[in-house]
């Protein structure tokens, strides 16, 4: 586990250093600098190009596929979704354990046993109705828990928003997935990755058809909105805040400058 921790840490730092070479220069004004660091997107010009490319690809390929996909009746789609989640169990479980979250590991294992048997190979999420709610863990989150920095925002062509830490996590997760080795033996690991990635991608896209349309329509800067959404979602996943408690947000009273109490928020200051 120490070797894993060291290698993961090293790999994300190496990737951050690699991307740092292509960065824009930070501003000098302290407030502007603080903003620059908060946005943490020194590769913005390149990222925006990839983002535009991905949007084009989405318009001509992914969105139409997802729209066609929803013609399949919902129960069938739900079963596919459940099976995808069930297949992710080993990776989820490994990361639960690596993060020292033993209670969550037990939930993951319990869900797998119940859904694989009573849920007929994972087609039905029976465990959910028994109080075992699903959660998502990946090695990127594990690295975060271990203290690796996330690094700058990166938009990957085809795949979308990410970070050096998340990229390292994805690679590590493929090694934690027993099916990788099964298909490797058949010399079909590339096909496995593509097929699985494709099904997962279409499933995910089909679930946010309305939501993404809404966000796009209501955005002044779609790129900046997605960047903020991605970051905050990721943060919530890392801190396991699925219950909605203890969420971050603007603090009302303490940052008087940023967010004044109503009596101070006069227009004539």
């Amino acid at each position: 586990m120490n070797v894993l921790r060291f290698t993961g840490h090293l790999a994300s730092i190496a990737l951050i250093a690699f991307f740092a070479a292509a960065c824009t220069t930070p501003p000098e004004d302290p407030e502007a600098l603080a903003e620059y660091q908060e946005i943490n997107d020194p590769l913005e010009p390149m990222n925006r190009k990839f983002f535009a490319f991905n949007r084009g690809l989405d318009t001509v390929l992914f969105k139409p596929l997802a729209k066609a996909y929803v013609y399949i009746p919902k129960p069938a789609r739900d079963s596919i979704h459940n099976m995808i989640n069930n297949v992710k169990t080993p990776v989820n479980l490994a990361n639960d354990i690596l993060q020292g979250e033993l209670e969550r590991a037990a939930t993951t294992l319990g869900r797998f046993l119940i859904n694989t048997t009573i849920g007929i190979g994972g087609m039905f999420d029976v465990a959910k109705h028994m109080g075992l709610e699903r959660h998502n863990e990946d090695f990127g989150q594990t690295l975060a828990v271990w203290g690796s920095p996330t690094g700058p925002y990166i938009v990957i062509p085809v795949l979308g928003p990410s970070s050096p830490r998340a990229i390292v996590g994805t690679v590590a997760d493929s090694f934690l997935d027993p099916l990788t080795y099964v298909f490797e033996n058949q010399d079909a690991e590339l096909e496995y990755m593509l097929v699985r990635g494709g099904i997962e991608g279409i499933d995910e896209r089909s679930r946010v058809l309305d939501v993404l349309d809404d966000i796009e329509e209501s955005s002044l800067d779609f790129y900046a909105t997605i960047r903020s959404l991605y970051r905050q979602r990721r943060e919530a996943e890392i801190l396991n805040r699925e219950d909605g408690a203890d969420v971050p947000g603007p603090s009302f009273m303490t940052e008087a400058d940023d967010f004044p109490s109503p009596d101070k928020a006069s227009l004539v200051q």
């Binding site: 919902k74 900046a224 919530a236 909605g244 408690a245």
Partner: protein, 204 residues
């Protein structure tokens, strides 16, 4: 139902405020779900209902100021007035539209916790008739002069105020650091969205 839990661990007065904050959100959320998820509402009606709820329950002034972040101090009085008017319009147009895709949901407060002096976080969830996982919403509420006002909603871990501020600061930076760039963009967007007023909302 969660109120009993809170009572047992908090001093009485603080617990009263917690109770009241939770009750305020439960009532507000119930009324919002009822008013906004009705099927076949015309966009115009949906927006009017949303506007009433927004005016009543939210601290629009504080939100306007927060989403401008560090640029707030650099604005003139006229710019602020114009920004606030456009931003309110923008919020009503865009956030009301998000309700077009909902109907048959139920709303429940799941817990309340204090976050400093007279500020509370109310956790809640929206149960979906499709059986999909519930949507978790957290409300940041402040109490002033005995009444409660919402100043942020966090949806599945994403704060609306932070997202908005992040987007707006990006528009300002790309517009040469000028607040006018944001005001222009908001004016264009709200004008464009206003033309949708006559469409009938589709409810999926």
């Amino acid at each position: 139902m969660t109120l009993g839990l809170v009572l047992s661990v908090s001093p009485l007065r603080a617990a009263d405020s917690l109770d009241a904050a939770g009750a305020f959100i439960q009532d507000f959320g119930d009324r919002a779900v009822n008013a906004l998820t009705e099927e076949g509402l015309a966009t115009k009606v949906l927006r009017a209902r949303f506007r009433d709820l927004y005016d009543e329950g939210f601290d629009a002034k504080a939100i306007s100021r927060f989403v401008l972040g560090r640029y707030w101090k650099k604005t003139t009085k006229d710019e602020r007035t114009e920004f606030m008017a456009l931003f309110n319009k923008f919020v009503i147009q865009t956030y009301s539209a998000k309700f077009r895709h909902y109907s048959g949901e139920t709303f429940e407060v799941t817990g309340t916790q204090p976050e400093g002096n007279n500020v509370f976080i109310v956790a809640s969830r929206v149960l979906q008739p499709s059986g999909d996982p519930p949507i978790t919403l957290s409300w940041r509420v402040s109490k002033t002069n005995g009444s409660y006002r919402i100043y942020d909603i966090t949806v599945e871990g994403v704060s609306m105020a932070i997202t908005q501020r992040s987007e707006f600061s990006s528009v300002i930076r790309n517009g040469g650091g000028k607040i006018a760039a944001l005001i222009d963009a908001l004016r264009d967007k709200t004008t464009k969205l206003a033309s949708k007023e006559d469409e009938t909302a589709n409810t999926n």
